[in-house]
């Protein structure tokens, strides 16, 4: 019985944090907060968050008065209208907002394009074909769009094969 009581009286940190939302004088939580500084700090943060949310909201339950119904009737009588917030949103504002978010992405893209252009311009035309080794030109000329092997290519390839067979 004593063991059961002590089990009921204490909660772990995880359970205590689950109790934060329904706190308001929960004895088990209070006991835990007194013994655990870390949870006490977390609860303080949680409580402040809740107070900030409460402070930013209306302090009392607002009830519509006679003026509200009169104004609503007048508004309806004026006919459908665009909500003021939507009307305020000009294309320029929307563009500015999007552009601001896209600036880093656009900068990276610009750098990539510049880099690629520089690299491309550095390579002389046909350099990629010249870089192909003679053996590849001989072996794969019929499979890929490589330039036809020259007599020197064939000889060089044969020498390379012979050297490999001789273990050089």
């Amino acid at each position: 019985m004593k063991r059961k009581l002590s089990k009921e009286a204490t909660v772990g940190c995880r359970q205590a944090r689950r109790l934060f939302a329904q706190a308001a004088g929960d004895a088990t939580l209070t006991r835990h907060l007194q013994s655990c500084a870390h949870c006490a700090f977390e609860y303080r943060l949680f409580d402040l968050q809740r107070r900030a949310l409460d402070l930013a909201a209306s302090p009392e339950q607002v009830v519509p008065d006679k003026d509200f119904f009169r104004a609503l009737r007048a508004r309806i009588a004026r006919g459908p209208e665009l909500s003021p917030t939507r009307a305020e949103e000009s294309w320029a504002a929307a563009l500015l907002l999007t552009a601001r978010q896209l600036v880093p992405a656009m900068a990276v893209l610009l750098l990539v394009i510049l880099g690629a252009t520089l690299l491309w311009n550095q390579q002389p035309p046909g350099a990629s074909q010249a870089a192909i080794r003679p053996r590849e030109r001989v072996m794969f000329s019929d499979m890929y769009d490589y330039p036809a092997p020259t007599r020197d290519d064939v000889l060089e390839t044969l020498v390379a094969i012979e050297e490999r067979q001789n273990g050089k």
Partner: protein, 238 residues
């Protein structure tokens, strides 16, 4: 209301909202009273569609507390709350033709309300950004500390409370409007993820992600406040 309990107000609000939203939270078989009410409501909607102003006013009276309650969770100024609520009901009146009879009018109006609040939060954030763009980080921190001090006072004067509310508003304005919408509905008003998902039209995972992000931002802001508050108290003692 318990004056000593700082959460008493939100607890009462919570109870009011819970009462209004109970039927949304659980899908249950309607009682005879509910059926009669729904039939009555459908009749009011039909009459409103036929441009019967009194019928629509009856609908507004029936659902105004819920609309005002949602709007009041995001905005503090009475004139602003009135204006947004008017906008909601005007929108509802002009798009009544798109409402499917037999479905929950209350849920439909709540959706319009949440969307209107979202639009206003976005507009407000833009205004606040422009207004405070010139303020330095130090000024920002000073304002936040003021709020922290008032939030810790259990019996702060009305004027101090008003100042603190303004600063809390600045703090919340740092949140993305979508994040703010979700965290207020879930953490302040006690709606479930599913209910918020229905009201906003966003997926449940999006709602969860938004709530998580907002809580993380708020927690970081509060941690900064608590630590600076403690530093300030230590320096005062010295």
């Amino acid at each position: 209301m318990n004056v000593d309990n700082p959460n008493a107000h939100s607890t009462v609000r919570q109870a009011v909202v819970d009462e209004q939203f109970d039927h949304l939270a659980e899908e249950h078989a309607p009682t005879p009273d509910e059926t009669a009410r729904a039939r009555d409501e459908d009749e009011l909607i039909r009459r409103s569609l036929a441009r019967d102003g009194d019928a629509f006013e009856a609908l507004v009276r029936r659902h105004s507390s819920r609309v005002f309650s949602i709007v009041g969770s995001f905005f503090r100024r009475r004139d602003m709350i009135d204006d947004i609520a008017q906008e909601v009901f005007a929108k509802a009146y002009f798009s009544l033709g798109t409402f499917t009879l037999g479905r929950s009018f209350e849920a439909w109006v709540a959706k319009i309300t949440v969307n209107a609040c979202y639009d206003h939060l976005r507009a407000q954030r833009r205004r606040i950004e422009q207004q405070w763009a010139h303020e330095t980080q130090k000024e920002d921190e000073w304002f936040e500390l003021q709020m922290f001090e008032v939030a810790q006072e259990r019996h702060a004067s009305a004027e101090r409370q008003r100042d603190a509310a303004e600063i809390a508003e600045r703090l919340l304005a740092k949140l993305d409007p979508e994040d703010r919408l979700v965290v207020v509905l879930i953490d302040r008003d006690g709606f479930s993820v599913k209910e918020v998902s229905e009201m906003t039209g966003w997926g449940q995972s999006k709602v969860k992600v938004r709530a998580f992000r907002a809580r993380r931002v708020l927690r970081a802001a509060m941690k900064r406040l608590v630590l600076s508050g403690e530093r300030m108290q230590r320096s005062k003692k010295k």
